[in-house]
Amino acid sequence: MNTSEYASPPSVEHLYLDHHGWLQGWLRRRLGNASDAADLAHDVFLRLLAAPKRFDSPPEARGYLRTMANGLCIDLWRRREVEQAWLDALASRPEALEPSPEHRSIIVETLLEIGDMLGRLPQKAASAFVMAQLDGMPYREIAARLGVSDRMVKKYIAQAMLQCALIEAGLEA
């Protein structure tokens, strides 16, 4: 396995056998946690299955796997941060229910996705849009919470929707 070139491009199964143990160790050192490391190593190979890559040598494969794993670590930290922010806000609500792990992970994914779409907007426009989308909160109430006029809320909603629709239509990344 330590030859400098692959005789023929390896399958994902082959890559898994060669590199999974090493990758998991690398992730464990980076994350300081064996169970997160196992999850992310799993994800790296799932992604490779979904979008196979051709490698000519083991060092090339390792470099690629490490880059991918590093990206996933950053995602994981960001996901944890978002989850914590959401849970903290939820904890301050008296009637809040503790969501199940499955429910929670889908909610956090949705928050991340929406956060990306709204990334370039002013904070108040993003908040107004989320409130309007979630419960159809009246503009007057959104305006009071944000300390702006009703007309401003309507402008925020149009601005936020346009930003998201442009992304949805592939006209903006």
Partner: protein, 339 residues
């Protein structure tokens, strides 16, 4: 992107090929959306919006994008708005490079997010095997295959099967899920096997069902007989009307075969005096998302024939006969409570 201001020729296709909206139409759609969401919206405004929508296919397409954006919020419906605002605020701070997100990945796999989460909790070697399988079905999908020798195989929901017909042997490998097999006799007299990671079963000219998950393989025989040899080499012959479960370590004592294991290929789930919890687990296999059963009603006994692919219908039938009520806090979240 072509400029699409002014008059646009009608769409060429017959609805299949959607018109790509330009920036201008999206701006209009977004501002209509903002007007319609307001509590002060008037009837005249609604009518003006309808006129705008009908004016060109590009407007209709722009509006579809607005609706698609709203659908992205669906998992948050019914959750706390202040928490969602805080979560989105935290998400906005991060790097804007999440095109390789989970849900995007789920799209790549052609699965819903729930399906993706399912794979995430499956051992990787099994995922690899399932992924390279010859035949696969998604959640809620069933498929009938006729093999080269005339053998018929029905693949149930969320299953993966590979077929290896070689000179001396006919071999099916079930990586995940469930199959029902009706073997044909082979002119060459080749033996017929179904293999899972826990062992292999030799069919002795017959009709039988195999269900495999991470914990065990289950065999129900409806005609003739099947012989199990598990990974450790233990042998067990299972006759028509019998059932056995096995793992790499052992084979269970024989029990009665269940009709339900043959009924699914007709699109139904049969409950023959089983606990509600068990029926729901069976129905949930055909349905992405989450279905929970409250402990107070989980043990209620049920009997009947339920449609496999139509969870709403099945739940309505149950709601009519049992002291339960169905809650749907989210579109993909069903919970069954005591009435």
């Amino acid at each position: 992107m072509a400029a699409t201001d002014g008059a646009m020729p009608p769409a060429g296709g017959t609805g299949d090929e959607a018109v790509k909206p330009g920036r201008r139409s999206l701006e209009e759609a977004a501002s209509w959306y903002a007007a319609l969401c307001s509590e002060d919206v008037t009837g005249a405004e609604r009518q003006a919006w309808r006129d705008w929508l009908a004016r060109s296919p590009e407007h209709a397409s722009a509006w579809e994008h607005v609706e698609a954006v709203s659908r992205r919020f669906a998992p948050l419906h019914g959750t706390d708005p202040d928490a969602a605002v805080a979560g989105v605020a935290a998400a906005r701070r991060g790097p804007v490079s999440r095109r390789r997100m989970l849900s995007g990945m789920a799209g790549l796999f052609g699965l819903g997010l729930a399906g993706w989460l399912g794979w995430r909790h499956t051992a990787l070697p099994e995922v690899l095997m399932a992924w390279s399988a010859d035949y696969r079905t998604g959640i809620g999908e069933q498929r009938e295959i006729t093999l080269a020798d005339g053998t018929q195989v029905w693949l149930n929901t969320d299953s993966a099967l590979s077929v290896e017909y070689r000179a001396g042997v006919r071999l099916l490998r079930l990586a995940a899920g469930e199959i029902l097999v009706h073997t044909a006799s082979d002119p060459g007299g080749r033996p017929f096997y179904v293999a899972t990671r826990y062992g292999r079963m030799q069919a002795l000219g017959t009709r039988f069902a195999v269900n495999h998950d991470q914990h065990r393989t289950r065999l129900d025989v409806f005609e003739s007989a099947v012989e199990i040899r598990n990974a450790a080499g233990a042998l067990q012959r299972v006759e028509a009307g019998q059932r056995a479960d096995f793992t790499a370590d052992g084979v269970s004592p024989l029990q009665a075969a269940e009709r339900a294991r043959e009924a699914w290929h007709r699109g139904v789930v049969v409950a023959d005096d089983i606990p509600l919890q068990q029926l729901i687990e069976e129905l949930a296999r055909y349905q992405p998302g989450h279905i929970g059963v409250a402990p107070e009603v989980a043990e209620l006994s049920v009997m009947g024939v339920y449609p496999a692919g139509d969870i709403d219908h099945a739940l309505a039938m149950l709601e009519n006969t049992l002291p339960i009520r169905i809650e749907r806090p989210l579109p993909w979240w069903i919970s069954i409570e005591a009435k």
